[in-house]
């Protein structure tokens, strides 16, 4: 008998998959480009080998940490939930397979290519050792932290995937869980440490974060208190194993549809959740039906907005709490910018999830094909989805902008207008403007990619990458080039220049991908709408 048969089979399949090789080669190429840039900088004499080695190490280590932390979103987050939606999980449980076979099999199958990509980074970290400025221990610890963060991310994704059915809930829940342990837990730990009599609970909370492991891996921190690093690593590994154990334990208990609940979420099971519309709402919906049936269709799901508002309000309260605490001891505008950017990113993330699932879900269920048999035009169908998104997110965005305005007013009171800090309120206004622009573009690009992409998860990831991540990738590439190729590194760069570059790049990518998405949508709507998955792959 084979131990873990699904794991063995999935590993054999994943090892032959093209994407495994492509991702490994892609990451290796990026890393090699960095190494060649470093060699060039040393040869020309712009920087000392030790300085280049240190910069290269920091660039690659941060890149590896960020990639590992969010690997779960693209790999395990929608693995089991997808099987549940498609009804194939039940077939697995009809065989001799156990819950751990399924969970571990899915875990290995989906995350093998990402694992290879992270391991590929190790030789480039080794190059920084040859250049100098970094100790061998630092490199080993950085690799260990990247692998631990990867384990944490895929375990969190597996746990959320085991308890959810919908793609949106799976990806959103994984993101929230990762954010909770990466940012919220250390922030709470810091607050507790500052106010409590004993540092124990504060240390415990901050050690749950993979970011703490990364910070403690630096040579100066590790040489002073090595036990703190090992404790943090152990805490993250134990948390990951708890997530995996919970997924294994819960899966056989939650995969079936419960006839009592009729497939409804807990929010919709509460008494009075299903109620008839008021006469006013009925009249309004009739008006929509006459105007465009797609709008009438989109005006149905009011209950989904409750969970959205709960999430946004919790996020906003946390951001306000952090701001109020930090403004006593730090300058207001930098704290405000970090809080606002985080809140904006969360709202954009929610818009991207919702937009990329609209048409993708309809296409998968065959509803889009049925709609195309009616006299509705593609533009009218799209207007219905845009209307639904506007109903959900318009007030959320207005609320966030009002909060931003309050922050801005609070910051302007103490701002010295004669100083060089004048760029800070301008940057803040730019961030507010970009929230509106990004929200509009994300709606269009998400909807259009939902129509084209193979799965809604892929549509979401592509939307996020094109609109939100590419500008940051551009900034990172610019910073890496400056760090490697100039003598002063990035120390002489004004923060305002970085913000301006981010703003310009965001506008540029928004316009480019908006044009591309609308082009695909208007020219190939019908052909994409009736395609099956296999034909999409061939296309």
């Amino acid at each position: 008998m084979t131990f873990l048969p699904i794991v063995q089979r999935e590993l054999l399949v994943a090892a032959r998959r093209r994407s495994t090789y492509r991702m490994r080669i892609g990451v290796a190429l990026v890393a090699m480009l960095l190494a060649i840039g470093s060699y060039f900088a040393v040869n020309v004499g712009w920087q000392s080998p030790a300085g280049v080695g240190k910069n290269l190490f920091h660039c690659v280590a941060v890149f590896a940490l960020a990639g590992s932390l969010f690997a779960g979103l693209g790999t395990t987050a929608d693995s089991i939930s997808r099987e549940k939606r498609e009804g194939t999980l039940g077939f697995l449980f009809l065989t001799d397979l156990r819950s751990y076979d399924v969970v571990l099999g899915k875990c290995f199958a989906t995350s093998l290519s990402s694992f290879f990509a992270i391991v590929t980074i190790a030789p480039v970290l080794g190059i920084s050792l040859l250049l100098g400025g970094v100790t061998p221990g630092e490199i080993w610890r950085a690799m260990l932290v990247a692998l631990i963060s990867f384990l944490f991310s895929i375990s969190a994704g597996m746990f959320v995937s085991a308890i959810t059915r919908d793609t949106r809930n799976a990806i959103g829940g994984t993101f929230a869980l990762i954010l909770l342990f990466t940012l919220v837990a250390p922030a709470c730990g810091y607050l507790v440490k500052a106010n409590a009599a004993s540092p124990g609970p504060g240390l415990f909370l901050s050690h749950l974060s993979p970011v703490s492991c990364f910070l403690l891996a630096a040579d100066n921190q590790f040489s002073a208190q090595p036990e703190l690093f090992w404790t943090a690593c152990s805490a993250v590994i134990i948390t990951s194993l708890i997530f995996l154990t919970l997924a294994i334990y819960l899966l056989p208990r939650v995969w079936q549809d419960n006839p009592k609940n009729n497939g409804r979420s807990p929010m919709n099971r509460r008494p009075g959740a299903i109620r008839s519309d008021s006469p006013r709402k009925k009249r309004w919906r009739e008006k929509l039906l006459n105007q465009n049936p797609a709008l009438w269709l989109a005006a149905r799901d009011d209950h989904k907005r409750v969970s959205l508002w709960v999430g946004v309000v919790i996020g906003a309260l946390f951001a306000v709490g952090v701001y109020l605490y930090c403004r006593q001891s730090m300058e207001r505008f930098p704290v405000m910018l970090v809080c606002a950017f985080t809140l904006h990113a969360a709202v954009k993330f929610l818009i991207a999830i919702d937009a990329s699932h609209g048409l993708a879900d309809e296409r998968r269920s065959g509803a889009l094909e049925l709609l195309l048999a009616t006299p509705l035009s593609p533009l009218e169908i799209l207007q219905g989805h845009l209307f639904s998104l506007r109903r959900k997110f318009f007030l959320v965005i207005v609320g966030v902008l009002v909060l931003d305005a309050c922050w801005l007013f609070d910051g302007l009171i103490t701002l010295d207008l004669s100083s060089d800090e004048l760029m800070l309120p301008v940057s803040f206004l730019g961030a507010m403007l970009m929230l509106m622009v990004d929200a509009y573009t994300l709606s269009w690009v998400g909807l259009c990619l939902g129509l084209v992409a193979k799965t809604s998860r892929r549509a979401f990831l592509t939307t996020m990458f094109q609109i939100l991540l590419l500008p940051w990738v551009g900034i990172m590439a610019l910073l890496m080039c400056l760090a490697l190729l100039t003598e002063g590194g990035i120390s002489g760069i004004e923060p305002g220049w970085l913000f301006v570059t981010w703003f310009g790049m965001s506008v540029m990518f928004n316009l480019l991908f908006f044009g591309l998405a609308t082009n695909n949508f208007f020219n190939h709507f019908r052909s994409h709408a009736v395609m099956t998955y296999d034909s999409i792959k061939r296309f």
């Binding site: 060089d420 760029m423 305002g496 506008v507 540029m508 316009l511 044009g515």
Partner: protein, 78 residues
């Protein structure tokens, strides 16, 4: 529709000039949207010009914002 697409291309090309071409880059985006909506139900023979116009406008807008912003930051810092 064809005229708007060609106009979009020309405006986009002028919009590539940093800072000075910014208003025309914005106009290109407006024309692009008009032509795209007009071409929603029929084929646009000048779609390549339309797409190129938007590409130029996007590059022009990005370059203008970055250049203008860098100058503004330098002025504010001094």
């Amino acid at each position: 529709m064809i005229e708007v697409s060609l106009r979009c291309f020309v405006f986009g090309l002028i919009g590539l000039i940093p800072v000075l071409g910014f208003p025309l880059a914005v106009l290109t985006v407006i024309h692009f949207w008009k032509a795209r909506l007009a071409a929603a139900s029929e084929w646009n023979p000048a779609h390549a010009y339309l797409n190129c116009g938007l590409l130029f406008a996007a590059l022009g807008c990005g370059a203008s914002i970055i250049l203008f912003g860098i100058v503004l930051v330098a002025l504010l810092v001094q």
